[in-house]
């Protein structure tokens, strides 16, 4: 692929256009409009584990600099779907992904794409904080060092910690072991670690489920700040969290085959979060968000 207009950034790694000038492409009939240009475009995405369907036929656009929430009951494939967005499912030998996931106009699963580069640009924060058994400083510096990023490391660490609203709390104990931090601080450290490698998307898989309300509030405040510079996709079981922080919400349900032996997830409604939580179009969404069904 040659594009004379490509910037320096585009020519690196994935060859994606990080300036975010993806043109509005053809939107399949029935797909709700997103408020902004898509950073991800999922077309007929299905995921299987050992041949068994886990997520069925998902087509969604995820917008730039917005927070998109994936909600739904346990087993509906939310985590499976979010893990497709940075090819984390590649690490599961039995997993296979069908359809296409277009990231900045480029197929994320194309043979030429380096999964490591994908995960650098599309970072992930998990349910439980997972800092390395290292100092606060080294946790942040780890990614840039591994990736051979050039520049003032102290500055990189400080910027990442400031970006995660953690700097003021840890600036005097950067050499302390990260395990000594509170759960909420550890989670923000993981977000800072993610930011240190300068991604443009942050995926969050139930990032607050192990945190108390105060720490949860700090993470949510942080998410609102981060979306100025990053696109965020979050999986959450907390309906109110989805309502509080996200711009768009996708609702997935669990479907069963006639013998009720196999189950898989499917997106049945995707819309503005305000719409999902005030006047959803689908009765199943209504029943789920109001808690009438589990």
């Amino acid at each position: 692929m040659t594009d004379p207009d490509r910037t320096q950034t585009e020519s690196e790694g994935l060859g994606v256009n990080l300036a975010g000038t993806v043109a509005e492409a053809h939107r399949p009939a029935g797909r709700p409009p997103t408020a902004r240009e898509p950073i991800f475009r999922l077309e007929d995405v299905s995921v299987r584990y050992s041949g068994k369907l886990a997520v069925d036929d998902v087509s969604l656009d995820f917008a730039h600099h917005q927070i998109t929430a994936l909600i739904g009951p346990s087993g509906c494939g939310k985590s499976t779907l979010i893990r497709c967005l940075n090819r984390m499912n590649d690490l599961i030998p039995t997993a296979s992904v069908e359809g296409s996931i277009i990231y900045h106009g480029q197929d994320l699963y194309a043979d030429t794409v380096d999964p490591v580069e994908v995960r650098k640009r599309i970072g992930m924060v998990f349910q439980k904080p997972n800092p390395f058994p290292k100092s606060v400083y080294d946790n942040i510096a780890f990614g840039p060092r591994v990736l051979g990023m050039k520049g003032d490391m102290d500055e990189m660490v400080e910027n990442a910690l400031r970006g995660a609203a953690l700097w003021d709390e840890v600036k005097d104990r950067l050499s302390d072991n990260a395990f000594g931090m509170s759960g909420g601080q550890q989670q923000r450290l993981c977000i800072a670690r993610c930011m240190a490698v300068e991604p443009d998307v942050i995926l969050m898989d139930e990032p607050c489920s192990a945190l108390d309300p105060i720490s949860t509030g700090k993470i949510e405040d942080l998410m609102m700040e981060l979306k100025e510079n990053y696109s965020i996709v979050i999986v959450t079981h907390n309906m109110q969290q989805a309502a509080r922080v996200s711009d768009m919400t996708a609702f997935l349900i669990v479907e069963l085959d006639s013998a009720e032996r196999n189950r898989w997830g499917r997106v049945i409604e995707y819309d503005q979060t305000e719409k999902i939580f005030t006047n959803p179009s689908d009765k199943r969404t209504e029943d789920y968000v109001t808690g009438k069904v589990g």
Binding site: E286, V289, T290
Partner: protein, 236 residues
């Protein structure tokens, strides 16, 4: 009917809240009936009873309002549950205002005096208005409990009748105002007509909440600043 599914206690609480709120409209209907009778017979004692019994309506307003706040704080309702809560808040406000209008009318009964009515036609129009708005409130309650948008929209038609009678009262007030006493009586009756007309407007407001509850979109059935326009097709 027993509720199936999850959050059963919450759903029962919501149902009970709606029941208590709509019962409040029954209190208003009773108050309108008494008010109409007090106006018809210039019954000052009955008018005082209307004023006293408004405390019951205010009490119901406070009770349901507090329960709604508790439910919002503890259950975080969303989607149709949230719309129901929002609509009930409006209904309760309308209920409280309609009760106040009955009090306003009741306070005017002694002012209208013990003399025979200065004009039977005007009194008849006002009593017709009173009966009409009582039926509007009943219909508003039925439309809400049945989630019946057509029934709710029909309130506009009924309200037009009340509005026309109000205008007729105004015309009669000018016509009969040939002496100071008659003018005073006519002005007092105009205030009563105006209060009744506002009750009708409140019933229409409840109808609009029915449409919001069912469709999720708020539309004014009629816009006072653009009379005659059907706003059902156009969001405000």
């Amino acid at each position: 009917m027993p509720i199936e599914g999850t959050r059963v206690a919450y759903q029962e609480e919501l149902e009970n809240l709606e029941h208590r709120a709509l019962e409040g409209l029954d209190l208003v209907v009773a108050s309108i009936e008494r008010t109409n009778e007090a106006v018809q017979h210039q019954d000052i004692e009955l008018a005082e009873l209307v004023i006293a019994s408004d405390d019951v309506i205010d009490g119901r307003y406070l009770e349901v309002h507090q329960a709604i706040l508790t439910l919002l704080a503890t259950q975080a309702p969303v989607a149709s549950d949230l719309r129901l809560i929002s609509a009930l808040l409006h209904v309760m406000k309308c209920m409280e205002r309609m009760g106040d209008q009955c009090v306003n009318i009741a306070k005017l009964v002694p002012i209208a005096g013990h003399e025979p009515p200065a004009d039977e036609r005007m009194l008849k129009d006002i009593l017709t208005m009173g009966n009409a708005v009582r039926e509007q409130v009943r219909q508003a309650k039925r439309a809400f409990s049945e989630r019946n948008v057509e029934l709710a929209r029909d309130l506009v038609r009924q309200d037009d009748v009340v509005d026309n009678l109000n205008r007729e009262c105004f015309r009669l007030a000018i016509e009969i105002g040939t002496s100071e006493d008659r003018r005073e009586w006519a002005m007092t009756m105009m205030l009563i007509a105006r209060a009744i007309e506002r009750i009708g407007d409140n019933a229409v407001d409840i109808g609009e909440q029915v449409a919001f509850l069912v469709t999720g979109l708020f539309r004014e059935f009629e816009d006072a600043s653009h009379p005659g326009e059907d706003l059902a097709q156009n969001p405000i």
